[in-house]
């Protein structure tokens, strides 16, 4: 059931430090969790790198957008960056090439709007499904809290809040992405980036908390059974000792009685012997009486 360390091989903890090999003698229930956390960390780093590449990648277009803003004299970057606005600008051109380009951009604008609507619907469904899952988890953890496990309950309380925030913030992030897809402004890209970074941190914290909570729970369970089994062992050892002590006392008492009996017997025999001797002596004495 549990995968873990063996007597011959050491292993690394999640922070990379080596755990001495061959100690404990127990299977490690966290080997799987550690492997998964390591895989998740890799994935998290990949997400982080990707997000940081957005601005490098968008750098040239961002500077062009700003130039364009100045050119049009507009205050909002959004107005100049949206696909419909580009289509409108394109329509101003009268030559055939510009007209063709305008049609192409116009079609793209319609397609983009449809794409955003479709995407939003799908993502929203995903959020709802996630929220249903969260509610189940919240109930499960609420039940555990009711079992009176203080340490776990404290984290479960935090976890409940996290799960509720997950559902709400996911929805907000989906909206931010949809909004950026529509307008493509720098401000909205920044908002998406901040949202992704925040979610990245929260997902990471959630995974770490789940891992630590499980460790605490395992330690708690093991301690509960250790206490129970050791109490039984101690009671058994005490009962064995008491029985042995009682037997020794009984043996000693018996020995003492036997000694007394023997002494009494000897005394009686002595008295009998003396009485006999006295009686014999009496008879001897009697023979000497004139």
């Amino acid at each position: 059931m549990h995968e873990g360390k063996t007597e011959d091989t050491g292993e690394k903890k999640i922070d990379g430090t080596e755990i001495p090999a061959g100690v404990g003698g127990q299977e490690d229930p966290f080997a799987t969790g550690r492997e998964r956390m390591a895989a998740i960390s890799t994935k998290l780093n990949s997400v982080k790198e990707k997000v940081s590449s957005w601005f490098t990648k968008a750098g040239s277009s961002i500077s062009r957008f700003w130039n364009k803003t100045k050119h049009f004299g507009g205050e909002a970057v959004a107005a100049t960056l949206s696909a419909p606005e580009l289509a409108k600008q394109a329509d101003k051109y009268t030559d055939e090439k510009a007209h063709e380009l305008g049609v192409a951009i116009g079609e793209k604008a319609v397609a983009a709007t449809e794409w955003v609507d479709d995407k939003f619907d799908k993502m929203e469904q995903g959020v709802e499904a996630g929220y249903e899952w969260s509610k189940d988890k919240v109930t499960a953890f609420g039940n555990k809290m009711n079992e009176g496990r203080d340490a776990v309950g404290a984290w479960a309380d935090k976890k409940t809040d996290q799960l509720n925030e997950f559902a709400t913030e996911k929805k907000e992030l989906v909206l931010a992405v949809a909004s950026y897809a529509k307008d493509k402004t720098v401000e909205k890209l920044v908002k998406v980036k901040d949202g992704v970074a925040d979610r990245y941190d929260k997902v990471k914290a959630y995974g770490e908390n789940a891992y630590m909570s499980a460790k605490m729970k395992v330690a708690e369970i093991k301690q509960k059974y250790r206490d129970e089994q050791n109490r039984k062992r101690l009671e058994k050892a005490k009962a064995d000792y008491d029985a042995e002590l009682a037997q020794t006392v009984a043996d000693l008492q018996n020995a003492e009685q036997a000694e007394m009996d023997a002494k009494n017997m000897a005394e009686q025999m002595k008295q009998r012997k003396e009485a006999l001797a006295a009686k014999i002596s009496l008879m001897e004495n009697l023979s000497m009486v004139a």
Partner: protein, 121 residues
């Protein structure tokens, strides 16, 4: 009790020499973390469990049943952790998907910017 006092207690304890050495190695490996403390507890318990000389068959059966119950509870925790890890993975996959989509939108913005530039020429 400080660490040195605990080391002295272990050294003078009735634990087996082998287990004493394992514990002393753990104690000297660095900070006395939660994980290290749990490992030491496991070793001490292992030593306690190794002495079954005065245990009757009924006592042994009782302990074995208790261990089965403990394993069941530990499995429940492991399953819970696996569920949490799945949730984290699913959330990350979703986040990764979102990042890819935004990446695509950034590309699209670049294309549109280029098209706009062409229009101005």
């Amino acid at each position: 009790m400080n660490k040195q006092e605990f080391i002295d207690k272990i050294t003078n304890s009735p634990l087996s020499a082998d287990r004493k050495n394992k514990i002393l190695a753990l104690l000297s490996s660095g900070e006395l973390t939660f994980d290290i403390k749990e490992e030491i507890k496991d070793i001490i318990q292992e030593d306690i469990d190794s002495d079954n000389t005065s245990m009757s068959d009924a006592d042994k059966a009782d302990i074995a049943a208790s261990n089965v119950q403990m394993e069941t509870e530990l499995s429940a925790v492991e399953n819970d952790l696996a569920g949490d890890m799945q949730f984290v993975e699913a959330e990350l996959n979703s986040l990764e998907e979102m990042v890819k989509e935004v990446d695509g939108i950034v590309d699209q913005a670049n294309i549109e910017s280029l098209q706009s530039k062409i229009q101005e020429m």
